[in-house]
Symmetry: C2
Subunit: 205 residues, 2 copies
């Protein structure tokens, strides 16, 4: 059975829950006890020295990092639809995985962490990164439905959550028409699951 | 012929030059004219809307992002030695590609950009990220020669350059024994090529 070490309000964890649902895989979630800093406990750091969720345990195969878990699930369970063989397609997907790890993490995800959880950040820098990456993604989606070629891929799943959550970082994506349509396209998919609701005033679920 | 849009003193470009040499592939480099901001010109932004190097053009197949280019070269030209089939190995490699895009970019690479090129950064945050990631990588290399399993992979190539250049960001890696040994191991490889020398006082080559 697949076990997902999970933080319900983490966009990175949402990526994995989405992917598991799209692949229709059985899994259990183990929600980390953040109030007791379980993610920094010795037992957890042995599994993931970065002290972060998500972390996947598939019958003893342990994978850290949300992008890497998407690669694992796609290549292990997704077949060619989710894990193409063509090097140029793999590379295009990988480029968006880098964008998720870099610009999305240090743009919209950081602004959300600031506004929702009070994390200290360099706001002008995070805003500039966000504006740049939203412009690029909107342009990319202006003449295609998905980030890479004609099918949904893990690139879309890696990029989607923190863009859909951007309003929690006080970013209004409604003027990015193609991004908004793309979000709606993902949210209309059969196996789509939403993020749990968050009380904006307390940061609690 | 493979064309590499290149910035000689960029660690991200060094990754690609290393990989091309390790694969013994013919290529030409086109050095961007940074003084005329060629990387932000309309012609270049059409090829890479992020306005960054490296960018690879392999007979019309254009790939942006250093991690993605490593994936492309490994899967297109590297055979199973460079692009394993096992999903858990692909995922472990991908996790380090994320680390390269995230923590390495926002740790040692950012400190180098600050000290070498005067880029404004949040120094305490970049130092904390650097310390954390160096500790994790040193522990990872304490009982294995390479970041993933027993062979060199694109994970090593993605992580190496900005660690080898960390001194230019005033980070001393000599106390990280396993990292130092790993750097020496890479630098002793038959096809290894060094970064061009940089005059630390002017930032010029």
């Amino acid at each position: 059975m697949i076990k997902l070490y999970n933080i319900p309000m983490s966009g990175n964890c949402h990526k994995i829950r989405l992917m598991l649902c799209f692949l229709d895989l059985d899994y259990t979630t183990l929600d980390l006890d953040l109030s007791n800093r379980e993610q920094k406990s010795e037992a957890y750091l042995q599994r993931n020295p970065f002290g972060q969720a998500p972390l996947l345990d598939d019958n003893g195969t342990i994978i850290r990092d949300s992008q890497a878990i998407l690669v694992y699930l796609a290549s292990q369970y997704g077949g060619e639809q989710w894990w193409p063989k063509a090097p140029n397609q793999l590379a295009e997907i990988s480029a968006w995985l880098s964008t998720a790890a870099n610009e999305i993490t240090h743009g919209p995800a950081l602004l959300r962490a600031h506004h929702l959880f009070g994390r200290e950040i360099n706001q002008p820098m995070a805003l500039a990164t966000t504006q740049k990456v939203l412009n690029i993604i909107d342009a990319q989606l202006s003449n295609q439905s998905w980030l890479v070629s004609n099918t949904m891929s893990i690139a879309d799943i890696a990029i989607y959550p923190y863009i859909a959550l951007a309003h929690q970082g006080e970013i209004d994506i409604s003027s990015f028409v193609h991004i908004s349509t793309w979000c709606a396209r993902i949210e209309a998919l059969h196996h789509y699951i939403a993020m749990p609701g968050i009380d904006m005033h307390t940061g609690e679920q």
